[in-house]
C-alpha cells in the first residue's frame, strides 16, 4: 500500500486527499486527509471516486499520427518532430499569428506557464488561451477592472462566518460541494440564504428567499436591489466615500431600476426584490457567491460588475464572511489564468501591451521581440480557424468539440486547420480530428501545483507510474520547444519551473514547493517571508479605490420566438465533469447518470405530452440532439436545462456562439430552443 497526498483533479475547491495504491501499483482508492484545511477529512462523490478513471483501459498509451486519413500508432520521436516541424513550417509560411495554443485548466500551473512561454517566447504569438474563456473570463475582466484583482475576494472558510449569503447563478452543492456544504451548515447556524436562480437547486430548498428570475436578467435584478438599498438608505456611506470612486455615475444608472421595473424584466415580484435587498443590506456580514449563471452571458462582464457594485454599495469587502466570491469551476482554472495562459497577459496578469513587462520577460527568457498586441481567445481562435485565418492549433488537455459553443462550427473550424496537435489522456471527439495525438499523463502520475478557487496554490504528487508511454505535459512542451530551436525551456522538474514562475510573477514571488508544504499558500504571496493572503482588499482595494461600474441591462442575444419557444440553458451536473472523459469512465459516477437528459417543467411536459424519461429531440438554429426528458419542477415553465457532458447528446450542438464583447465568453446560459417527442 502506498498513500500519496495530492489535490483533487475535479472542481476548483481544492480538496486534499490521499491516493491509495496497492503493491502492484494500481490505484485502489482514496483516503481523506483529516488535517487538510479545506477538505477536513470530507470529500464529494467525485473526490471519493477520483482514482477511478486514471488506469482505465481506454487511456491513450502511445502517440498517434494521421496517415492516409487514419490515426495510427507512432513513436514519440517522430510525433514530436512532426509537431515542431509543422508548426515552424506554418509559422514561416503564414506568420506568427497563424498558430494558436490552448493551455488547460486541468493541467498544472507549471504546464500552463510553459504553454504560455512556448507560444510567446518560441512562436512569438499571444494566441494563447484556455477554457477559462468559457467559464470565468467575465470575472477576470470585470473584477480586475473594479478592484485590481479578478479572483475570489475571500476564503472558503469565510462562508461559515457570513450572516447572509446571496447565491446567484451557482448550484453550489453540486458544483463546489465542499463549499455548498459550508453554506448548508451556515444556514443551520442561522445565516440568511438568498438563492437567485430560476432552477430549483438544492440550496433553494434551504433558502429563506428563492428568486426565480428569468435567465439573463441578472443586471436588472441586481440594479433593482441596489435601487432599493439606496432608496431606503441602507448603503454604507462611509465605505462608499472612503474606498470607492465613480459612485454618482453608478447611482444615476441604478435610479432607472425601481423594483417594479426590475420585477417586470425579471419575471419576479417587486416584493421579492425589496426583500432580497433588505436582507442582504441589513446583514452585518453579507457574502456573494456566484458562478456560471452570472458569467456565461453576452453581458457576463456586466453581471460580474453588478455583483461587485452590490458588495461595494454595502461595504462588504476586506473582512471574514463577506466579499464577492466567484467559484472557479476547474481544479486549476485559477492557476491557468494566473500563469498567463490568456491572450493579453503574462503570468500574474502582467499586460503584454506594457513595454517594461515585455522587457522583463524578454530578459528572463533570453529572447527578443515578444509580441505586444493581445492575441486570439479560445472562442475567437476557432472563429478565425473557421474563416481560414488561423492555420494551426496546438491543444493541451482541452476538448473544444464538446466544451465550446456550436459544435458544428467547432468541427468546421478544426477541420479547416492545416495542422492540429492534441495532447490528452483519453481519445476525445477533438483528438479524432487531430493530425498528431500525444498521450499525456494524468494528475496522478506527475508532480506540480494547482491553484484553487480561493487562490490556494497546492501540490499534486506522483502516486503511480505513467500509464503506457504517456508523458507529463510539461516534459512534452519542453521537448517541443527544444525541437523548435529554443534552448530556454530545459527543466529537471516542475519545482524548477515554479521557481521560474516566482521569479517573474509578483503575486507568486514567495511560492515554492518547499513553502507550499502540505496545505498550500494563498496568493498574493510576494516574497519568501510572506504568509499568503486569505482575504483580499483588507483596508484598501488592490488597485487603490474600488470603481463602481454603471451598467445597464441588455437582453440576451437569442430570445425565444414562435419557432424556438424555449430558453435553453446548459451546465454541469453533480456526477459528471465537463466533457465526461473522466467521470464517464468512473463506474459509480457513470452509473448515476447514464444518458444525456433535458430538464423540462412539468406543465410544459404535460402540454407537449412528454413523459419523464422519454426520449425527446431538442433543437435550436444550430442543430438537434436526442436526450431523455427529465420532467420536474426544477426548471420553470418555458425553460430547458441540459448538461454538456454527453457525446451522444452533446448540448453544445445546440448552444450559440454569441460572445460577450469584452470577455469573449459564450452565452451558454441562454439560447432559443424547441423540444418535441422523438418519432
Amino acid at each position: 500500500m502506498k498513500r500519496v497526498l495530492t489535490t483533487c483533479t475535479y472542481c476548483g475547491v481544492g480538496c486534499g486527499f490521499y491516493l491509495v495504491s496497492n503493491d502492484e501499483g494500481q490505484l485502489v482508492g482514496v483516503e481523506a486527509s483529516r488535517e487538510h484545511p479545506v477538505a477536513q477529512g470530507q470529500l464529494c462523490v467525485k473526490g471519493w471516486n477520483a482514482f477511478q478513471f486514471v488506469q482505465h483501459p481506454d487511456r491513450l498509451k502511445q502517440p498517434l499520427i494521421r496517415r492516409n486519413g487514419q490515426l495510427s500508432p507512432a513513436f514519440w520521436d517522430e510525433s514530436m518532430k512532426t509537431i515542431a516541424g509543422r508548426l515552424k513550417e506554418i509559422q514561416r509560411k503564414h506568420g506568427n499569428d497563424s498558430i494558436a495554443f490552448f493551455a488547460s485548466a486541468k493541467t498544472s500551473n507549471e504546464e500552463n506557464y510553459l504553454m504560455m512561454k512556448l507560444a510567446r517566447a518560441v512562436f512569438k504569438t499571444n494566441n494563447v488561451d484556455h477554457c477559462a474563456r468559457l467559464c470565468h473570463a467575465s470575472t477576470v475582466v470585470g473584477l480586475a477592472q473594479m478592484f485590481g484583482s479578478g479572483a475570489m475576494t475571500n476564503s472558503i472558510s469565510c462562508v461559515e462566518q457570513a450572516d447572509c449569503i446571496l447565491v446567484i447563478g451557482s448550484n453550489t452543492t453540486e458544483q463546489h460541494p465542499l463549499i455548498g456544504s459550508r453554506i448548508v451548515k451556515a444556514v443551520r447556524k442561522g445565516a440568511k440564504l438568498i438563492v437567485a436562480d430560476n432552477r430549483k437547486i438544492r440550496l433553494a430548498r434551504l433558502a429563506g428567499l428563492h428568486i426565480r428570475h428569468r435567465n439573463g436578467t441578472d443586471v436588472a435584478l441586481l440594479n433593482s436591489m441596489m435601487n432599493v438599498i439606496i432608496r431606503e438608505g441602507l448603503e454604507n456611506k462611509e465605505f462608499i466615500a472612503d474606498r470607492t470612486e465613480k459612485y454618482e455615475e453608478f447611482r444615476k444608472v441604478v435610479e432607472k431600476y425601481p423594483p417594479e421595473k426590475g420585477a417586470s424584466i425579471c419575471g419576479v415580484t417587486a416584493e421579492e426584490i425589496v426583500q432580497a435587498a433588505r436582507i442582504y443590506a441589513q446583514a452585518k456580514n453579507a457574502m456573494i457567491v456566484y458562478s456560471m449563471g452570472i458569467t456565461q452571458h453576452t453581458h457576463g462582464v456586466d453581471n460580474v460588475r453588478s455583483c461587485g457594485n452590490l458588495a461595494m454599495l454595502t461595504g462588504n469587502y476586506g473582512r471574514p464572511g463577506v466579499g464577492v466570491n466567484p467559484l472557479r469551476g476547474q481544479n486549476n482554472v485559477q492557476g491557468a489564468c494566473d500563469m498567463g495562459a490568456l491572450p493579453n497577459v503574462f503570468s500574474g496578469y502582467q499586460a503584454v501591451t506594457d513595454a517594461a513587462i515585455r522587457q522583463k520577460f524578454e530578459k528572463a527568457w533570453g529572447v527578443e521581440g515578444l509580441p505586444d498586441t493581445p492575441g486570439l481567445a479560445v472562442t475567437t481562435a476557432l472563429d478565425a480557424a473557421a474563416e481560414g485565418k488561423l492555420k494551426a492549433l496546438y491543444i493541451m488537455g482541452e476538448n473544444p468539440m464538446m466544451s465550446d459553443p456550436d459544435q458544428n462550427h467547432v468541427r468546421k473550424a478544426l477541420e479547416n486547420l492545416e495542422f492540429l496537435a492534441v495532447q490528452d489522456i483519453f481519445e476525445t471527439p477533438t483528438t479524432q480530428l487531430a493530425h498528431v495525438v500525444l498521450p499525456a499523463t494524468s494528475w496522478a502520475e506527475k508532480d506540480g501545483t494547482f491553484t484553487s478557487t480561493e487562490r490556494r496554490v497546492q501540490r499534486i504528487r506522483t502516486a503511480i507510474e505513467p500509464v503506457g508511454e504517456s508523458r507529463p505535459d510539461w516534459r512534452i512542451l519542453c521537448d517541443v520547444a527544444m525541437l523548435a530551436g529554443y534552448g530556454g525551456m530545459k527543466y529537471d522538474s516542475p519545482k524548477e519551473i515554479l521557481d521560474e514562475v516566482a521569479s517573474v510573477t509578483p503575486s507568486y514571488g514567495g511560492i515554492t514547493f518547499e513553502r507550499i508544504g502540505q496545505f498550500g499558500l494563498q496568493w498574493p504571496c510576494p516574497n519568501k517571508e510572506h504568509a499568503g493572503t486569505p482575504i483580499l482588499h483588507v483596508g484598501k482595494f488592490t488597485r487603490g479605490k474600488g470603481v463602481f461600474a454603471a451598467v445597464d441591462y441588455r437582453p440576451s442575444v437569442e430570445l425565444p420566438d414562435d419557432e424556438y419557444p424555449y430558453v435553453l440553458s446548459t451546465g454541469r451536473i453533480y456526477f459528471h465533469y465537463h466533457t465526461g472523459t473522466m467521470t464517464r469512465r468512473s463506474k459509480l459516477l457513470d452509473r448515476e447518470e447514464r444518458f444525456p437528459f433535458v430538464e423540462v417543467n412539468e406543465n410544459d411536459a404535460r402540454r407537449l405530452k412528454i413523459r419523464d424519461r422519454q426520449w425527446v429531440c431538442v433543437s435550436t438554429r444550430r442543430g438537434e440532439v436526442k436526450a431523455q426528458a427529465r420532467v420536474a419542477d426544477v426548471v420553470p415553465p418555458g425553460v430547458l436545462f441540459m448538461p454538456f457532458h454527453f457525446e451522444e447528446g452533446a448540448a453544445n450542438v445546440l448552444t450559440i456562439n454569441a460572445l460577450d464583447p469584452e470577455a469573449k465568453i459564450p452565452e451558454f446560459k441562454v439560447c432559443a430552443a424547441a423540444i418535441r417527442s422523438t418519432p
Binding site: 500500500m1 502506498k2 498513500r3 497526498l5 486534499g16 490521499y18 491509495v20 496497492n22 490505484l27 485502489v28 482508492g29 482514496v30 483516503e31 481523506a32 486527509s33 483529516r34 488535517e35 487538510h36 477529512g41 470530507q42 470529500l43 464529494c44 462523490v45 473526490g47 471519493w48 482514482f51 477511478q52 482505465h56 483501459p57 452543492t173 453540486e174 460541494p177 465542499l178 455548498g180 456544504s181 459550508r182 448548508v184 451548515k185 443551520r188 438544492r202 430548498r205 434551504l206 502540505q518 496545505f519 453533480y574 463506474k587 459509480l588 452509473r591 448515476e592 424519461r613
Partner: protein
Amino acid sequence: MKAYDETDLALSFQALGADYDVRVPILLSDGTRSLGRLEEGKMALAGGKLGAKPTSVFFPQMDLVFQQKGTNVRMQAPPSKPLMVVGLTAQDADCLAFLDRFFSTNFKDDLYRQKRMNSAVVVLSGKCGRDGEMLRLSSGNCDLELVFDGDRYLALAHSQTGKAMAEKMKGGLETDEISLGRLQRESKALPDDELKLLQRASSLLLDNKVPEDFWVDISNRCIACTACNLACPTCNCFDVFDWKCGDSCVNRYRLWDSCQLDGFMREASGHNPMGTEALRTRRRIHHKLAADVIRWGQMGCFLCGRCDEVCPTGIGIKAVSREMVEKYG
C-alpha cells in the same frame, strides 16, 4: 502480564512480520493517521480511532475479483502472508465482528474471507485516544489488546493466536494487574449517553414514530457525497465492473457502493424502490438502527463516529439520531 513501551512494540511488530503482513497506525505526511506498514511511516499508536474505514484492510474500496483470459478464469490469489492489523478500537473490533458475520452468513464472500482468514487483530484501548482520552476496553473479540496506561501498553491476549503473538513479542516488563483493573473500571465508567441516544432512536424507528417529513428535511441537507457509507466500518455494499486488460482478457473488480446513490437500487426498467432522496436517507439510518436489529438482533452502528466526522453537512448517524429523539421523544 507484560507492559511494553513503543520501542518494544515496534520491535515486536517487526518480529511478527516474519509471520504476518503487519499493518499499524502510521503518520502520513500531513499528520493524518492511517494503517500502513512499519516502513511506510512513523508508527503512531496513540491518537484514537483512525479516520478511514478500518475494515478496508479486508474489504478495500476497489479490489480485483478475478481475471478472465480466454476461457481461463483466475480468482484473486490469497495474500502470501496473513494480515496482522494493529490499531482498531474496541468499537472497530465490534464492527469487524459484525462484518465477519455478514460476509460468512448465507452469501459467503471468498474475497473477504481469504484476507480475513488467519489474520490477527490487535485492539488499542486505554488512555491512547486523542490528547490522552480514555478509549473503551474491548469485549475480547480480538486476538490481542494493548491497553495504554499512560506510560506503557499492557498486553492482553484474547485468543490462541493472540497468545502465540504475545510470546513472540520483544522486550516488555512484567507487571501486576492492578493497573489493568483500574483501567477496566475507568472503561466501564465511560459515559453511555450516546448509546442510550442511539437505542432511543432505534426504538422510535422500530415503533414507526418518525414521519416521512423528517427524512425529507434531512435529505435536503444531504449532498450525496456517500462518505457516510465509505467511512462506515459495517457498510459492506459493493458494485462490480469489468475492464478489458488486453485482447480476450477481462478484469472484474468490485468497488464500494453507497445506498445514498439513486443508481444503487435502480432497476433496469427504470423503476427504483429507493427513488427519492428522502427514502435513501431514511434507509441508511433505518438499516443500521432498525433492519439490522430485526435481522441480527443488534444495531449495525457501534458509535465509532466516523460518519459524523466525514459528513460535510452534519447529518451523520449520531446527529440524525439526536435530532430524531429531540423531535419525537
